[in-house]
């Protein structure tokens, strides 16, 4: 255990001689420059390792540090009052941090931490304290500190920091976000406790429950040792075999694909042994950081190519064309589309067919990316066969354009569709003749079948993907698609819940499309069952009358199979 004293830097000199003003300001400027370089490095390494969403934090730090007004605020006391650079930095940043703590509610006061982070880095630079001692430790420790900044957290020695606990901080803070992305167990904002521990004491950190236990008794220690052993063996079993195929006890292979939204998630799919990408949601290109302008064909192309290359030549990437509208609208269209009932309005494929320029731009980018690896294209929210034909003819049109322009692409891309409108499943016997593959979107399917807005708290008790009516629809879709030899998967939440795995295998599902984190769990479960017993489970479930009965029954069967407590933490 290591107790960190980061109460701040002590300052030796507060004032300078008047003739030193210019050199002091130059010293300040070069420290700002050097610190900016460090932050830019952190931003790049964090973006590379855990993704753009986290890199943004340091991008914001950089934009604060290089701000002209900040420099003006720092220069002023040096010129006017002969402050040393260190003293000016401390005063100016502390004032800003104090102001933040004061104006902000308790939930937000945490954000002053970002300002303190920048201050500490700048001071270290000015005083020539370069090394970050937490980046290189000589033994495994649990770190206890008054607080940790986001940059300290991202630079922690991940081999030796087993976890950390802080007195200050909050669950939603950037420090917590970075810790969770790096999978470092952390408990933040416990309140005062550092006075009660000494370096070398035994402590237990329970990141799941948010507990820090000081000087635990023998019984507690034994209990936690058991939990650790069990988790280790479960996760070792899951991850050691995650890349092996998932074959049931009676020899049927189940393919488990990953659902992704951001291109860097393809790496998680790769590590967790995904058979490919079952659903790549492309809306993020429209909803991401730069809302002022629509993405270019090149933006699309680069994002798709990254994913396709990450998956390599043997694993397919299923790209769903943009599912915009209703609750997800790019800024350019918000004023144009005004609807009383947006979920029944111009959304998804309907929007694509209405704004064909956007749609064609995306299709061109997908086709260009197809030269780099195997892909499939999937249209969302198709209601009628005419709509599918319409979308496909635009696709063929774009193919022709590219051929004429001599642009290389894969000429045998399978074209599939989402099954999420009840009508499309009722009419699936028509679709199977023209559509290459299907993916059931149980979330929207549930919303439309049970006529329940999933975002409405007044009716959300009706929203159950395990409702018997949904099972009937799913069953029919799988049966008919399988009869016509068309691949079918489920990418809704229902398939990411391991409690439903047996049911879905029993209903005939052979392709799962799930959240990347649960891939190893689902694959492991598949290896522990027989198709025959899954069919028994499904048969019973299909006869049940309520979602609650079905859920309880499935949980019982799953627990029986693997014992309780096997579910991997997410």
């Amino acid at each position: 255990m290591l107790i960190l004293d980061n109460s701040g830097c002590r300052l030796s000199r507060r004032f300078i001689d008047p003739h030193e003003v210019d050199s002091e300001i130059n010293r300040l400027k070069s420290a700002i420059q050097a610190t900016s370089d460090q932050i830019a490095q952190d931003r790049d390494s964090v973006t590379r390792e855990i993704g753009e969403e986290y890199g943004h934090i340091f991008g914001a730090h950089l934009s604060i540090l290089t701000d002209k007004k900040l420099l003006r605020d720092l220069e002023e006391p040096i010129r006017q009052h002969n402050y040393s650079a260190e003293y000016a930095v401390t005063e100016v940043f502390d004032r800003q941090a104090d102001m933040l703590r004061r104006v902000a509610g308790t939930l937000y006061s945490e954000r002053a931490n970002d300002v303190v982070d920048i201050k500490v880095r700048l001071l270290r630079q000015l005083m020539g304290v370069h090394q970050n001692s937490l980046a290189h430790l000589d033994r495994p420790v649990i770190l206890l500190a008054a607080s940790l900044t986001p940059s300290e957290t991202s630079n922690l020695d991940r081999d030796n920091v087993l976890g950390f606990a802080t007195e200050e901080g909050a669950r939603g803070s950037h420090t917590a976000i970075v810790a969770s992305a790096l999978q470092i167990p952390a408990v933040l904002g416990i309140g005062r406790f550092l006075a009660d521990v000494q370096e070398g004491d035994r402590v237990i950190l329970d990141g799941d429950k948010g507990l820090l236990i000081l000087n635990p008794d023998a019984e507690t220690t034994r209990k936690y040792q058991q939990i650790i052993d069990r988790q280790k063996s479960v996760s070792q079993r899951l991850f050691s075999r995650s890349s092996a195929p998932a074959i049931t006890q009676d020899g049927t292979e189940i393919q488990v694909f990953g659902n992704i939204e951001y291109h860097y998630e393809s790496r998680i799919c790769d590590i967790n042994g995904a058979a490919g990408i079952g659903l790549y949601r492309t809306e993020f290109l429209y909803l991401g950081a730069d809302l002022a302008s629509l993405p270019t064909e090149e933006d699309h192309f680069q994002a798709y190519r990254t994913v396709i290359e990450a998956m390599g030549p043997n694993r397919v990437t299923t790209i769903r064309t943009f599912d915009l509208g209703a609750d997800k609208l790019p800024s350019g269209l918000t004023t144009e589309i005004v609807e009383a009932n947006p979920f029944m309005g111009v959304r998804s494929i309907r929007l694509s067919l209405k704004y064909q320029d956007m749609f064609r731009k995306q299709l061109r980018a997908i086709l260009r990316a197809s030269a780099f690896g195997p892909i499939r294209i999937m249209f969302p929210l198709v209601s009628t066969i005419l709509e599918f034909r319409n979308a496909k003819s635009i696709f063929l049109d774009v193919c022709e354009e590219l051929d004429e322009a001599g642009v290389p692409f894969d000429h045998s891309i399978p074209i599939g569709m989402m099954l999420e409108v009840p009508a499309s499943i009722i009419m699936i016997h028509t679709f199977v003749k023209e559509v290459d593959f299907f993916s059931i979107g149980t979330n929207d399917l549930t919303q439309y079948s049970l006529a329940v807005d999933r975002g409405n708290k007044g009716v959300d008790f009706l929203y159950n993907s395990e409702d018997p009516a949904i099972l009937q629809l799913v069953h029919r879709a799988i049966q008919v698609a399988t009869m016509y030899d068309k691949p079918i998967s489920i990418c809704g939440q229902i398939s990411s819940d391991p409690n439903n795995t047996m049911l879905l295998i029993g209903l005939g599902l052979r392709h799962f499309s799930v959240a990347p984190g649960v891939i190893p769990v689902i694959k492991d479960l598949c290896r522990n069952v027989t198709v025959k017993e899954c069919e028994e489970v499904a048969k019973k479930a299909l006869f049940m009358e309520t979602a609650r009965d079905i859920r309880n029954y499935l949980r019982l069967e799953t627990d029986k199979k693997l014992g309780t407590g096997w579910t991997a933490e997410e």
Partner: protein
């Protein structure tokens, strides 16, 4: 919207993302404001911040979901930059959609 002259535009914008005003929204606003010729300011309670300055905008951190801010631009492209920044607010800075789709995949 109230337009005083050709060159000055003032609009009330509302914070609708759950996390409120923090570093990410701030960064987005600076990026948009920097591209404009106009002077752009945001006013919240007693704080007035230059939208081209991250350091200035820090003083708005703590404006929570539901808070109303006054957005003001003065210059040749005032209307345009006000529209762009308002769009960021309307789109919740791209944040809650991210949460929503992350928890509800389809």
């Amino acid at each position: 919207m109230e337009v005083n002259t050709q060159l000055q535009v003032t609009k009330t914008v509302k914070i609708t993302n759950k996390a409120g005003f923090h570093l990410r929204p701030m960064n987005q606003i600076v990026k948009v404001a920097e591209t404009a010729q106009s002077d752009v300011t945001l006013v919240y309670k007693s704080c007035r911040a230059d939208c081209k300055s991250s350091w200035d905008l820090l003083s708005l951190i703590g404006a929570e979901e539901g808070a109303e801010l006054t957005l003001c631009a003065e210059g040749s492209d005032a209307a345009e930059v006000v529209d762009k920044i308002e769009a960021l607010f309307l789109q919740k800075f791209g944040e809650d959609e991210f949460e929503k789709t992350a928890s509800a995949p389809v």
